[in-house]
């Protein structure tokens, strides 16, 4: 195990950011800390980096006790949401920073910086200032800077949070490919479940200062431990008293299947390739259903249509646990 977190708690005044969190993060993997804002995931990452100290509990990195080490002695790479570029230094100088602090020979620094800038596709921007780069380029520079010191773990705090949707998607793919090349143990914080599902080998869902579930993206998506995890990983609705994903519901315009729930379409909304239906049912109230545009057109559903709803074969559903389900479906 690369990072061992044991019994860590952290309070800011009256606010409990982390409540007795224990977690093992495996070596060489890409792990996502996923959860809503204010849930404690960034605090946990900053405690691992030494930028914040835990009130109680211990952290060890690569088997070495690190709880009371200052950040500069932990050999971690940290990437900030807002890049934290050294504004007065060129891109090459930014990347060289950690190596120059370590007093590596000039020739080695030069070679390594060139290597890293090529790795992040910024070779031709070496002499620019960070202000002359786009957000995505700045974040790639920050990543190269963090990788330059050959950290034992790489920590990224909402690394793509400040970027626009398209660049975010590109960088996400790129981070995954980079990790497959470099293999450094990487932990990144995100509140975007799609980002976590797409990039991570393993996801840790954190909410209200506690860990809700740890698992691979498939495990979490197919077998969420509770309705919070199910609700956080994607949209949910209720059918036959169970939580289900809106796209896992089959719609039929005639009463064919046993146990299908009848209802009336009260609203249709087209968003790109999908059609979102709100169906009023006597048993479950309003049920949200998502169809592809082609399916919706073939069925001919529109406002006022009578439809029968049934769970798709192979759909994962979670029995509703008391009243929490209403808040879990965001």
């Amino acid at each position: 195990m690369s990072i061992e977190i044991t019994g860590v708690s952290k309070r800011f005044g009256d606010f409990v950011a982390l409540d007795d969190v224990s977690l093992s993060i495996p070596s060489g993997r890409l792990t996502a800390l996923l959860g809503p804002s204010g849930g404690g995931k960034s605090t946990l990452l900053r405690i691992v980096a030494g930028l914040e100290s835990a009130d109680v509990g211990t952290v060890s990195i690569e088997g070495a006790e690190a709880t009371h080490l200052p950040p500069q002695k932990r050999n971690v790479g940290f990437v900030f949401q807002h890049y934290a570029a050294f504004k007065h230094m060129s891109v090459a100088k930014n990347v060289a920073f950690g190596l120059e602090i370590r007093k590596r020979p000039k020739a080695e620094v030069k070679r390594r910086v060139e290597e890293l800038l090529d790795l992040v596709h910024l070779g031709q921007f070496a002499h620019r200032l960070p202000a002359q780069l786009s957000g995505g380029q700045r974040q790639r520079m920050a990543l190269a800077r963090a990788l330059a010191v050959e950290p034992s773990v790489l920590l990224l705090d909402e690394p793509f949070g400040a970027l626009d949707a398209k660049v975010r998607k590109e960088l996400r793919d790129w981070l995954r490919r980079l990790h497959d090349e470099v293999h450094v143990t990487t932990v990144f914080v995100t509140h975007d479940q799609e980002e976590a599902l797409e990039v991570a080998d393993e996801i840790v869902v954190i909410n209200d200062g506690r860990i809700e579930q740890v698992g691979t993206p498939d495990e979490l998506y197919d077998a969420p431990a509770n309705d919070f995890v199910m609700g956080f990983l994607g949209p949910v609705t209720r059918l036959n008293g169970a939580l289900i994903r809106p796209h896992d519901i089959d719609v039929s315009t005639h009463d064919g299947l046993l146990g299908a729930v009848p209802g009336v379409v009260t609203r249709t909304l087209r968003v790109g390739f999908e059609v979102r239906l709100t169906v009023d049912t006597p048993s479950d109230g309003d049920v949200t259903v998502v169809l592809t545009r082609a399916t919706a057109r073939a069925l001919g559903v529109e406002d006022g249509s009578r439809v029968w709803l049934s769970p798709n074969l192979g759909a994962g559903a979670l029995p509703v646990l008391a009243a929490r389900s209403a808040t879990a479906a965001r």
């Binding site: 980096a49 030494g50 930028l51 200052p70 950040p71 500069q72 932990r74 050999n75 971690v76 790479g77 940290f78 900030f80 807002h82 934290a84 570029a85 050294f86 504004k87 007065h88 230094m89 920073f97 950690g98 602090i101 370590r102 920050a142 800077r145 963090a146 330059a148 010191v149």
Partner: protein, 269 residues
């Protein structure tokens, strides 16, 4: 968003220009005019007076030392105020502004009360060890430091706040210790604020009158600073010398500001 200049904006401009002209430009111009009434003769005469040259040299020395002290403490206090949380922080922040609101004469008197050689708190003890504060250079430096204290801090604090501490955290995570982080990351990002603070402090120190008048004893040729020479010469009907020294003081201050404005890179202005 270019707005068309209406009658109101013209009136406002006229008011501002008129105000600045009557209050700043015209009086300053008259000093320059009086200084050069007989060409360079006035300045030459002033500079041939040993009391004047001594006062100018002393002013330069006191100002530079005071600015150096304020530079170190100003940057230190700014870092403390922005980067650290501690009880009494608001009080400290308010204390920093005291020199701006208290009359310099009061500052002078307060220093005399604490450090004078006969009945001050520390004065007799210091004098027993051969250190004279009041009526000597250390007192003048202290008084000058006091009045110029907030200038570096008030320039640096907002810049430190704006820059934030992420760059410093990044430096720490890359292996830099506190000193390396300050030298390589913090200082370059507050550089121009520090330079501006120093220039303002220097200008303020050169022109200080009230506080140094009380602590210096104003002994001609010994503890007399340039501003005090101006007053004395003016009262002794040596107006031309008074104007010349005034001009030199103002010129030095304006020169600093102009040089810094020219040096400062455009995008950071």
């Amino acid at each position: 968003m270019a707005r068309r200049a209406s009658l109101v904006t013209w009136l406002l401009r006229l008011a501002v220009v008129g105000y600045l002209f009557l209050l700043v430009a015209w009086p300053s111009w008259l000093v320059v005019q009086k200084t050069f009434e007989h060409g360079l003769a006035g300045i030459a005469e002033a500079l041939s007076d040993p009391d004047v040259t001594h006062a100018l040299r002393l002013t330069g020395y006191v100002s530079v030392v005071a600015v150096a002290i304020n530079l170190v403490f100003g940057v230190g206090v700014s870092l403390l105020l922005v980067r650290y949380e501690f009880p009494g922080k608001r009080l400290l922040s308010a204390m920093v502004d005291v020199p701006l609101s208290v009359s310099p004469v009061v500052v002078g008197l307060a220093l005399v009360l604490v450090y004078n050689g006969r009945f001050g708190w520390f004065g007799p003890a210091l004098e027993a060890h051969g250190v004279q504060v009041i009526f000597a250079t250390p007192g003048m430096i202290m008084a000058t430091c006091f009045v110029a204290l907030p200038l570096v801090i008030r320039e640096v604090v907002p810049v430190l706040e704006e820059v934030g501490d992420e760059q410093e955290q990044a430096a720490r995570s890359l292996g830099a210790n506190a000193v390396q982080t300050f030298r390589r990351v913090t200082l370059p990002s507050i550089k121009w604020a520090v330079v501006y603070g120093v220039v303002l402090s220097l200008a303020r120190s050169l022109g200080e009158f009230g506080a140094v008048k009380v602590v210096s004893g104003n002994v001609t040729g010994q503890t007399q600073l340039a501003t005090l020479v101006v007053q004395q010469k003016y009262q002794n009907f040596q107006q031309e010398t008074a104007y010349s020294v005034s001009f030199l003081l103002a010129f030095a201050a304006v020169l600093c500001i102009v040089v810094v404005s020219l040096l400062r890179p455009k995008e950071e202005r």
